[in-house]
């Protein structure tokens, strides 16, 4: 057992921190709030050059064949920097879906472009009546010719407005249980009948879209994996994306804590720094406990994804997603209280952390959902 980072991982983190400090300072984040694309070509190129697009891809597609543990290190830094843009949608959702379910020609078509920073994708998953349940998939894909025809609405699709292609989960038949009968498709965003519209969202650092499908035709080359049996692959993709959100949460919470602690050292009230008062000191101590605890679960979940059996991997993901979400929300909220009026102003950056925390909390299963998943696993196992 060894739960410290390898030297390589420490170096990856150091590089990521340096790159993001240079390329993604908070001014960049604020500019992107108002930008419909939500990122610049310059930073995207830079990220591709860092190798971040292809960390988990096989070497055949220009990838580095690394694990979730390594990726988590980078994502923690991205969460810290509140990196805007379609990295998460492209790399953790679309590319992972291709890696899991795609055939050689599908991979060949999309992965090298992603690796080189030329192609972007997104995952059209969540539906209007699903609430926090990413597995509630009712949109119909009806057989049409030798392919399928898609009709319906997907909501909360991250960064679809800049995606070149979408991976779409739809129901091709009613199954015995909800996970049976789901198929995955890969569809280019120009396809007729598909319309993407940006939603006005609280966390403007990660754009969300509504995607309408009206008789969108998918030919056989667009079917990703075995029809009706897409859930298994999708479930694995979701787990990694959930770990990604956990890592962002840990990084974000860490930064929010640092901001609060620094302020508590310099802000004087009643003749001493507010950090000398136990109400503030213990609040900061709680943040530290929570951040470190969320980090412990993140490491477990990332490690388990790479190394443990699928049962433990799934358990660890749900535990971490429930816990890290609440920690990031709590820490950001608590930081605002430490900062007082300053923290309540738009001018200060802390609210951006709270908003990202709330967005991450409800994305891909909220804490209530994941706790329920945990009990399902614990009582079946």
């Amino acid at each position: 057992m060894d739960v410290r980072f390898s030297e390589e991982q420490v170096e990856i983190a150091r590089q990521a921190r340096r790159f993001l400090e240079n390329e993604c300072p908070i001014e960049y984040v604020r500019t992107m709030l108002e930008d419909e694309r939500g990122f610049t070509d310059q930073i995207w190129r830079g990220m591709a050059e860092m190798g971040w697009m292809a960390m988990r891809m096989p070497e055949a597609y220009g990838g580095l064949a690394m694990g979730m543990t390594d990726l988590a290190v980078v994502l923690e830094e991205m969460g810290r920097a509140l990196l805007p843009g379609p990295y998460f949608s492209t790399v953790l959702m679309a590319a992972e879906a291709l890696l899991e379910a795609g055939n050689d020609s599908q991979k060949e078509r999309y992965l090298p472009g992603i690796a080189q920073g030329e192609t972007r994708g997104a995952l059209a998953l969540q539906e209007p009546d699903a609430g926090a349940d990413p597995g509630y998939i009712q949109m119909k894909a009806n057989p049409a010719g030798d392919g399928f025809s898609l009709s319906g609405t997907k909501l909360f699709v991250p960064d679809a407005q800049v995606a070149d292609f979408l991976v779409v989960a739809a129901r091709t038949r009613e199954g015995q249980d909800p996970s049976d009968g789901i198929s995955l498709f890969v569809v280019d965003t120009g396809t007729a009948g598909m319309s993407v519209s940006l939603l006005p969202t609280m966390d403007a650092t990660r754009k969300l879209c509504a995607v309408d499908f009206k008789d969108v035709q998918v030919d056989p080359q667009g079917i990703l994996g075995k029809p009706h049996q897409g859930w298994a692959a999708l479930h694995r993709v979701l787990q990694r994306a959930q770990i990604g959100l956990c890592a962002e949460n840990v990084g974000g919470a860490q930064r929010a804590m640092e901001i609060a602690v620094e302020y508590a050292k310099i802000r004087v009230q009643f003749d001493q720094p507010i950090g000398a008062y136990q109400a503030v000191k213990h609040r900061c101590a709680r943040m530290f406990e929570e951040v470190e605890s969320s980090r412990s679960l993140l490491y477990w979940a990332a490690w388990a994804q790479d190394q443990a059996d699928p049962g433990e991997a799934a358990l660890a993901v749900s535990a971490a997603k429930a816990y890290c979400s609440e920690v990031n929300r709590n820490v950001a909220t608590s930081a605002i209280q430490v900062l007082g009026g300053t923290g309540f102003s738009w001018e200060h950056d802390i609210h951006l952390y709270l908003k990202r925390a709330k967005a991450n909390e409800v994305a891909l299963g909220d804490p209530v959902f994941h706790r329920e998943q945990l009990v399902l696993m614990l009582t079946n196992g």
Binding site: Q126, P128, D129, A130, G131, A132, D133, Y136, Q138, L155, F156, L199, P200, T201, M202, D203, L208, A210, R267, Q269, F270, D271, Q272, A276, Y277, A279, V280, T333, I336, Q337, G340, G341, G343, F344, S345, W346, E347, H351, L354, K358, A359, V362, A363, D366, V368, F369
Partner: protein, 453 residues
Amino acid sequence: SSRRRGEPSQETRGETITVDRAMLLVRQLIERDRARYRAWMKEEFMDFRLTPEEEAFQKEFAAWLERNLPDEWDPSRYRLESSWEEKARMHREFQKLLFQAGYAGMNYPTAYGGQGKTLMEEVLVLETIASTCIELWLTGIITHGMAAPTILIWGNEEQKREFLPKCLNGTHIWCQGFSEPNAGSDVVNVSTRAVKENGHYVVNGQKIWTSFANIADYCILLVRTDTDSPKHKGLSYLLMDMKLPGVEVRPIRQITGEADFNEVFLEDVRVPAEMLVGMEGQGWKIAITTLMFERAVGDAVMASAFLRNVHNMREMAGNIKRSGKPVIQDPIFRQQLAQAFIEVMVLKHHGYRSLSQLLKGGVPGPEGSIGKLLWSETNQKICEFAMEMLGPYSQIMHGSPWAVQGGTWQYLFLRSKGNTIEAGTSEIQRNIIGERVLNLPKDMSRASRQDGR
């Protein structure tokens, strides 16, 4: 006696009153209400019921409000789409309507434009407004919750005749200049200076977190007139025209994206000496007593507004779905809905207890801090619950057809984060309860301060 509360009396007319006299007067005014009250109440029992007269009045007002609500009003539109100019205009029109119909300032003397009734009628009016259209009224909360009561209790006759009718009929909107950038929770740490010179106070300094400064006609302003006295004793209370030269207002955008607050820069502002309330050095006392009275009224009104939000949440729970099923079927969210309701009921009945105390001649004390903690934390909790219930919809803001209930919750959620900071942080409130209610010792650093507040 046919004299009503706060009507000019021999002993106060034209005279600058002392602090003790003012407190006595407050007690006398309340005593008169109490005498009227005694006739209505059942003496035998603790009674939350309204008297038949009160109930009839409440119904009458609710019906009036239903008929007279401005067409253009809609909570989320008012809040999230209207400019400050529009808000100010709508508020003035609404207040004027109230005034003309005889519902403005129920407990103010008729001589000053009020209705000469008791605080109970005023609370009934405010509760009814709060449960349907609190947004319209909130724009005037400093005017009606702080400025007018202060002027009524502490102002001299000229001040009352000049300002009270204009507060009640919608002519004036007021703002409050208490907080300063370097003061924070240490409110007495006022460094804005006022120097008396040729019948004017020349004011220099900076105020922050000043709601409505951008639309206000007047400002209740706390200034330091004496730098030698201990901190809280050198303060004075001025009524400042916002159109005076040297007043500059800069909006502060808060985390909701709106600018509900402002910075106010004061450079050689010449405020006429007649605009002093009470005497020099009484500023802190005036500010703090008004605050405590306001709080007792505010809790019941807040509860009424929050109850409306809980009802919205209940309605939402029937519409929002998780895994295809309405959230209202999920026991976890049912528990949250119940808890939200319970905490609003706590606030409401806490408010009634404070109000009862006030109506019966008690003077509200530091235990008023409970009310501040209750409303701020209850509102935060309701908003957290609603956002959890919304799930991914919690992300979609006002303006999208996918926004739930007009995207109001997102605004309320973010706005609520300021509740435990504004009007005295929760930490300060708990110091007050600990030290002034429970008599726990001060910590050394604060105990060692000279002013010994």
